[in-house]
């Protein structure tokens, strides 16, 4: 009976986690401006199909990733216009966006299942990936994975240490006060929503072009919802979102490896463990009212209508 190789496990968990991490970090910024977009799943799957279609047709994974981002952004703009300009309910609009995205992607992807996307080249030379232990963990990934970590760092820095971050947080905490100070609440929110859409789209494109290398209907299979849960899990803190995503991906990758290694543990418990952990964390978070209240943006999900 073979043990589990920690190196391949870490490599796998990073790949498994990245789509969810990208979507979560985008949604985190959106929620920081006080907008709850439940359409992450819809934007991810649209990004997945558009990224795949463009990558297959142009032979360029980079164009595929850009197309994934653009399509996620386009979809988020629909949400933005409806909720910010036409003041529709954010929860209902977000849910509708998910349904719309799932339907649209199925339509756009007709004829593509089974196509082979171009191979994504890694940014580091293959020799570096062969360095024992750290090689495969640090240097063996595609560019998007490094980008996702950089993105987390950038969001952490911008939100915490820049004027722009301060404005974003102000809009999310009290949109009336921000408005009174002269900040363009709607414009800021629209930009955040589009950023969130681009991140979700990129996450979807990563899923179809890199992780699965195929397009199949409904392939995100709930990843967008996990991303939403992760934002709460992370209590709107970027590095915690990274931790949460890797933890989630780690459990997923680990349970498959434990099974493959023939280690005798009840697999149904392992298979559901990522979801159970998510639920437990959500329950713990929400039971402590003061802490959640401290961390959740105060204006989250509230409609802003400028008066006067």
């Amino acid at each position: 009976m073979m043990g589990i190789d920690p190196i391949t496990l870490i490599v796998a968990l990073i790949t498994v986690s990245t789509p969810v991490l990208l979507a979560a970090i985008g949604e985190l910024v959106v929620e920081k401006t006080g907008v709850l977009n439940l359409g992450v799943e819809g934007m991810m799957i649209t990004g997945a199909v558009m990224g795949f279609v463009v990558a297959v047709n142009t032979g360029s994974p980079t164009l595929g990733f850009l197309a994934g981002m653009a399509s996620g952004m386009a979809l988020s703009l629909i949400f933005g216009v409806l909720t910010q300009l036409l003041l529709s309910n954010q929860v209902a609009t977000g849910l509708a966006l998910t349904l719309f995205g799932l339907g649209l992607s199925a339509l756009l992807g007709v004829g593509y299942p089974g196509s082979t996307p171009p191979v994504v080249s890694d940014p580091f030379p293959a020799a570096m990936a062969e360095i024992p232990v750290i090689g495969p963990i640090l240097f063996g990934h595609s560019l998007v994975i490094y980008l996702s970590v950089l993105l987390v760092a950038a969001v952490w820095y911008v939100l915490g240490y820049t004027k722009m971050g301060l404005i974003i947080r102000a809009v999310g905490e009290n949109h009336d006060a921000a408005h009174a100070l002269g900040y363009k609440v709607i414009r800021i929110r629209l930009m955040a929503i589009m950023f969130g859409g681009a991140c979700a789209g990129l996450g979807g494109a990563f899923l179809s072009i890199v992780r699965v290398q195929n397009w199949v209907d409904g392939m995100t299979a709930g990843a967008g919802w996990i991303a939403l849960a992760l934002v709460v899990f992370a209590s709107w803190k970027p590095w915690r979102a990274l931790l949460g995503a890797y933890l989630f991906g780690g459990v997923t990758a680990l349970q498959l490896r434990l099974q493959a290694a023939g280690i005798d543990i009840p697999v149904e418990i392992l298979a559901m463990s990522p979801y159970v952990i998510t639920i437990v964390v959500l329950v713990i978070m929400s039971s402590d009212k003061s802490r959640t209240a401290l961390n959740a943006p105060a204006a989250l999900g509230k409609v802003f209508h400028a008066t006067g």
Partner: protein
Amino acid sequence: MKTLTKIMAVSALSLGLAAPALAQDDPTQVGFIYVGSIGDLGWTYEHDRARLAVEEHFGDAVETSYVENVPEGADAERVLTQMALSGADLIFTTSFGYMDPTNAVAERFPNVRFEHATGYRRDHPNVSTYSARFYEGRAVMGHIAGHMTESNIVGYIASFPIPEVIRGINSAFIHAREVNPDVEFRIVWAYTWFDPAVEADAAQALIDQGADVIMQHTDSTAPMTVLAEAGAFGFGQASDMYQFAPAPRISAIIDDWAPYYIARTQAVMDGTWESTDTWDGIGPGMVGIGEMTDAIPEEVRASAQALQAAIAAGDYHPFTGPLNRQDGSAWLAEGEVADDGTLLGMNFYVEGITGDVPN
């Protein structure tokens, strides 16, 4: 959304055709509900190909409709009711989990005929069940896998611990061991029929554990991509998956439902339809074996084809004794053949497989 339009179109149509003068010439309405999407290139894709074959065979005499991605459970009952209400004469419910909804709706619509795939409950005279002896195909795949593995580790991506899946694992294992006494099976339960990301991860996990041939009982082509990268071999599942030939896909188990669907539709049109239980294998053509590619050595191809021919002719049953259960207790004596009842309820591994069947 497109399926909703379809339902609406079907119901509008059936209302329009309700005019008495036309009653005689009504095209026979055949409905299908699918657990996955028709683009899965696996299980649902093959059911839909069979639906299209029905359309082609009967032309204007038959109209078909389908709803894809129907969850197993209460939603299925709703979709079935809607289909029955909108005038379907015959409905195929193409997943094991539709068993209870199918029988529940069948009770309320005694004039509609229901055909439930892979189930065993026929509570009402208007319910039939049908399935394919996929384990016959698994025997051939297992034979090839036993020959092809160099690490002597064969990975198996399983879906749910139901008899259908366990039977497949046992059949594949018996025939892999027969040609390679050192072969070991590593089984990963994905707890899904269709989730490309999980299936790809499972394939990667098995490869990381040393497997160089992987069999799958899940429906997407995602594991194939992983196998291609790792230089490992696999088999098309439910559908040919020929776009991955000559390697990693070296052969395939193909479900061919078209002859059955055409025959049952014909029976409804002729008024000869009866509740039946069909379980066909390689012989009658319900289970097809995909082309064995050049990646398989010629003598292995020959022996695999001989095995396939023996099963098709009925000369050989994949579960022929002597066979023991996993715990070493005797199951089948020398020359004894498993009866269908045991096979349909199979919940144990045969001797040699490690690990437990999850409950």
